[in-house]
């Protein structure tokens, strides 16, 4: 049963070939069995069985995800469940409400069976910055699953659920999908309401889906898209159901700078093979330029850290979450600023602190213009680069990362090395574009290699159609 697709489960439950409870039980058991191998999950939701029973009782009879088990990254608030963004500072925080997009999934009949591991507050590219301990790559346990949605990617690869929800700020869905050999979609910024998703960098954060196939990820995405008056940056746009059998011809863009970025040999070989196939199929391949690619990393880390330093101010120990008033000498704090310091020092992990400091610095008087403002200006130039590129092509393909999954602890000591891992995923994030990762192949050590697709804003549905065609092309190999 764990091999069934989203659609197969939905149809089976609908036609009562098996009960939702049966499905839920099977996946809960599988989660319990599989999780110790990787630590992909931080909480398994045994209560979900009751939701499944309600479906079986006929309380809900329709929905694109009827009875489908879904794993949700730990930064989406779910009513009645602990939601911590894998940070100590939110330990024991039980959310009194459910995120808009998760509510949409549940309305379509999804069963939230577990919450997945992640880098604390989605800050990281390896899932090593989690208060719940690191998550291992399911393909090679000595390697990282990528991040920050490492737990969601690993969980899908381990078939703990056919669908997982992640969030992508600078590559947090695409990179782990690539490292774990699954498909991950980050829609256009504004497509899915951020209400209830714990903020990292507001102008970049987007929820998205991860699954084994393009179609399954698309079904999940479609369920989450919808106008929400609670998020002022949420855009109302029509997401047409993609035609997964489409035979359209495409003009496919190749970003020169991405291929010149020191790719692992297998990655560039397999990309070139794909390009050849595309040409053979009669699609046009055009080279496009994103000249400001080289600035993407500093721009991204300035913008994201600045916003994060502000977004994380609310974790002050006053209203919820960790509240520490006892000093190391056993005495209680007697000053407000000391209380803040103690709570935040103990509550936040190293990487989160690093980014709060970086962001606070770049927003400070005297530095704001040369860092934050400058970064915003270059961000606009990057967006313009993409606009120019899309005059010449329909979609862009390229690598997700320069290399396949790296070793645990390999980059922990050197934040810059770690940040550079996001080189190929942040430019499209900065431009707010829909983008995704799908399995391209494997390297010589059998580690998955991902293919990135980037499309024009709000052409999410067309991107998915294109991805489905590419997926077929790769299957035919």
């Amino acid at each position: 049963m764990i091999d069934l697709s989203v659609e197969q489960i939905k149809e089976g439950v609908e036609k009562k070939e098996f009960s939702a409870e049966e499905v839920c039980k099977t996946f809960l058991d599988h989660c319990q069995k599989e999780n110790p191998k990787t630590n992909a999950l931080v909480r398994i939701n045994e209560q979900s069985i009751q939701r499944a029973r309600r479906i079986d009782e006929g309380k809900l009879t329709k929905g694109s995800l009827l009875g489908v088990p879904v794993i949700v990254k730990d930064n989406f608030c779910i009513k009645g469940l602990e939601t911590t963004a894998c940070s100590k500072i939110l330990r024991n925080f039980v959310s009194p409400y459910t995120a808009f997009c998760i509510d949409r999934l549940e309305q379509e009949g999804a069963i939230i069976v577990a919450q997945s591991n992640m880098d604390e507050f989605a800050m990281g590219s390896s899932n090593e910055n989690s208060a719940y301990g690191l998550c291992k790559n399911p393909i090679d346990h000595t390697r990282v699953p990528g991040g920050s949605s490492g737990g969601s990617a690993a969980a899908v690869a381990q078939k703990m659920a056919p669908l997982a929800i992640g969030s992508d700020t600078g590559g947090s869905i695409r990179q782990p999908a690539s490292f774990c050999g699954v498909t991950g979609i980050k829609p256009t910024y504004g497509a899915i309401s951020r209400f209830g998703m714990i903020a990292f960098a507001s102008s970049l954060d987007q929820a998205g889906t991860m699954a084994r196939t393009v179609k399954e990820a698309s079904i999940g995405l479609q369920a989450m898209i919808g106008k929400d008056p609670q998020d002022a940056t949420n855009v109302s746009f029509s997401f047409e159901t993609p035609d997964f059998q489409s035979n359209k011809k495409y003009r496919v863009g190749i970003i020169k700078e991405y291929f010149d970025s020191g790719l692992q040999k297998e990655t560039s070989d397999q990309l070139n093979q794909l390009i050849k196939k595309i040409e053979e199929k009669g699609w046009e391949v055009v080279e496009v330029k994103i000249p400001h690619t080289e600035y993407a990393i500093p721009v991204y880390y300035l913008v994201a850290a600045s916003e994060a330093s502000s977004n994380l101010s609310r974790y002050d120990g006053v209203r919820y979450g960790l509240r520490d008033i006892q000093r190391e000498d056993g005495q209680n704090v007697n000053e407000l600023s000391e209380f803040y310091k103690l709570t935040r020092t103990r509550g936040f992990g190293e990487e989160v602190k690093r980014r709060i400091l970086l962001g606070t610095f770049s927003l400070s008087a005297g530095y704001y213009d040369q860092y934050y403002i400058k970064a915003c200006q270059v961000r606009r130039l990057i967006a313009q680069d993409f606009q120019e590129a899309f005059k010449k092509c329909d979609h862009i393909i390229g690598p997700v990362t320069t290399h396949t999954a790296f070793k645990i602890n390999e980059k922990c000591k050197d934040p810059i090395e770690m940040y550079k891992n996001d080189l190929l995923t942040v430019p499209s994030s900065l431009a707010g574009l829909p983008c995704m990762s799908l399995p391209l192949g494997h390297d010589d050590s059998n580690l998955p290699i991902g293919l990135q697709i980037i499309s024009p804003a709000f052409e999410d549905s067309k991107m998915i159609e294109f991805a489905a065609s590419v997926e077929k092309l790769l299957e035919d190999q």
């Binding site: 409400y97 998703m197 102008s203």
Partner: protein, 476 residues
């Protein structure tokens, strides 16, 4: 000594806008309800929550800015002002920084009979913080106020005296109350005023170092605090002591200002554009419609009262000091058609009763406007003397009874029927022939005796004017 210095004062007035719900959440803005009863997930800054701009707050902000003659900006932006405080749940305040909703503007008012104008720098929208109450070892936080929409009205530093600053602040309050955009209560904090004060030697081109006075909760104290601060700064200049940029508080008991924090201790607020909100774009028709919905302002009304009703400056300033008072005047005058009479009665008797009574707003006046008009009509028709009318009005105020009722109960009524008075006078003249002769031979003092006799005969209800007129005729 003061003559050698020029004073520059700029005021920052925070006005709570009267809206049903908060600036960025759907929570109610009602004042004084149970602690933390008007708090949503957004107000409490829960993880994952986002602000959404309340359109009504924008409308009220536009109306307020228009009432202050500001130019509304078609594009404005919200920013985050960052600092930690327990009653500010997000760790930042959403405010407008470099692109406010309104720029420019001015406030006109009369100061010692002269019309003066204070130009404005800008007006911007922001959210209020919650309220902390400290109890020694612990503090309690009430978030009911957190997120209430505010408009911060920033004047140019062109106010030149403490009395001008207080008059300006009073006028702003009056304008806001006229426009019904803020209830203007300083004590409850729905209007708050920070004053930036600096002095410089006459002729200097740059402003002196500014000192900010915060949290002053009455107009009288604004004036006193600024006055003290001006003298303190001049004293510093005279003795060569350096004036430091700082925030000072006013102690109304000692009538002194004292330092709260120096500039170096001030926060770096790290403003940056609020990424959770889109830029605010306003179209012209929206601004136009809101402008049209604004009622007449106090200064315009006051100037109209002078022209239309022939009232003098002081009278019209008094009558327009509160919108409801002006409305009472106009309502009553429509029935009585004697602006001077209405104005005199309002400025003296009605105002006295208002000041002595325990109501705070003219709209709660216990006397019906129609009844007050009826009373004044009875004076006009000489049914009542002024003295009687005062008595009647007082009872009207205390009991809410109609004037006719009171007059009937007390048996008051001025006899103004000339023939009846004439008959009484004839009788009295007939009974006092000797005195008539004495009067006619020059003992004019006796006129008072005759008036007294008539009044006695009519039990004081004869119209004194009529009595005088007829007596003079008969005694010729």
């Amino acid at each position: 000594m003061n003559g050698n210095y020029e004073v520059n004062i700029g005021l920052e007035i925070h006005a709570q806008l009267t809206t049903q719900s908060k600036c960025f959440s759907s929570a109610s803005t009602e004042f004084g309800k149970g602690h933390n009863n008007h708090v949503t997930l957004v107000c409490a800054g829960l993880p994952g929550t986002l602000p959404v701009l309340n359109d009504e707050a924008v409308n009220v902000a536009i109306k307020t800015a228009k009432a202050l003659n500001c130019e509304i900006q078609e594009d404005s932006l919200f920013s985050r002002k960052q600092y930690f405080y327990p009653d500010m749940p997000k760790g930042y305040q959403i405010t407008q920084y470099d692109r406010p909703i309104a720029k420019g503007g001015f406030v006109d008012f009369y100061l010692e009979g002269e019309k003066v104008r204070v130009p404005l720098e800008r007006a911007h929208m922001e959210e209020d913080a919650g309220k902390s109450t400290h109890f020694g070892e612990y503090s309690l936080i009430n978030l009911n106020r957190a997120g209430t929409p505010l408009l911060e009205i920033v004047s140019k530093p062109e106010i030149t005296s403490a009395s001008m600053a207080a008059a300006y602040a009073r006028t702003v309050r009056q304008i806001l109350r006229y426009a019904e955009v803020c209830d203007g209560n300083l004590e409850e904090g729905s209007l708050r005023c920070d004053c930036n004060v600096s002095v410089r030697p006459k002729g200097d081109e740059t402003l002196g170092t500014k000192v900010e006075l915060k949290n002053i909760n009455s107009f009288r104290f604004i004036e006193k605090a600024i006055e003290y601060e001006i003298q303190r700064q001049i004293q510093c200049k005279e003795t060569g002591e350096k004036i430091v940029q700082e925030t000072r508080l006013y102690d109304s008991v000692k009538n002194k200002t004292f330092s709260m924090r120096k500039k170096e201790e001030a926060n770096d607020y790290r403003y940056f554009p609020e990424p959770d909100l889109m830029a605010l774009r306003l179209d012209e028709s929206r601004i136009e419609n809101l402008t049209k919905s604004l009622p007449e302002g106090p200064t315009e009304k006051m100037e109209r009262f002078q022209k239309e009703f022939g009232l003098n400056l002081d009278e019209s300033i008094l009558l327009t000091s509160e919108k409801e008072m002006a409305e009472i005047f106009e309502d009553v005058n429509t029935k009585v058609s004697d602006p001077k009479l209405v104005s005199n009665w309002m400025a003296s008797e009605l105002l006295r009763l208002f000041n002595e009574g325990d109501i705070e707003n003219w709209k709660d006046m216990p006397v019906e406007r129609g009844d007050f008009a009826d009373l004044l009509s009875m004076i006009q028709s000489k049914e009542l003397s002024g003295k009687m009318a005062k008595e009647v009005l007082e009872e009207m105020w205390n009991s809410g009874k109609k004037p006719k009722e009171i007059v009937a109960d007390r048996g008051l009524s001025l006899i103004s029927d000339e023939s009846e008075i004439e008959a009484q006078i004839d009788t009295i003249i007939g009974q006092n022939k000797e005195k008539v002769e004495e009067y006619k031979s020059g003992k004019e003092k006796l006129f008072g005796f005759f008036v007294g006799q008539v009044m006695k005969a009519t039990k004081g209800q004869a119209s004194p004017q009529v009595v005088n007129k007829i007596l003079k005729d008969k005694l010729k």
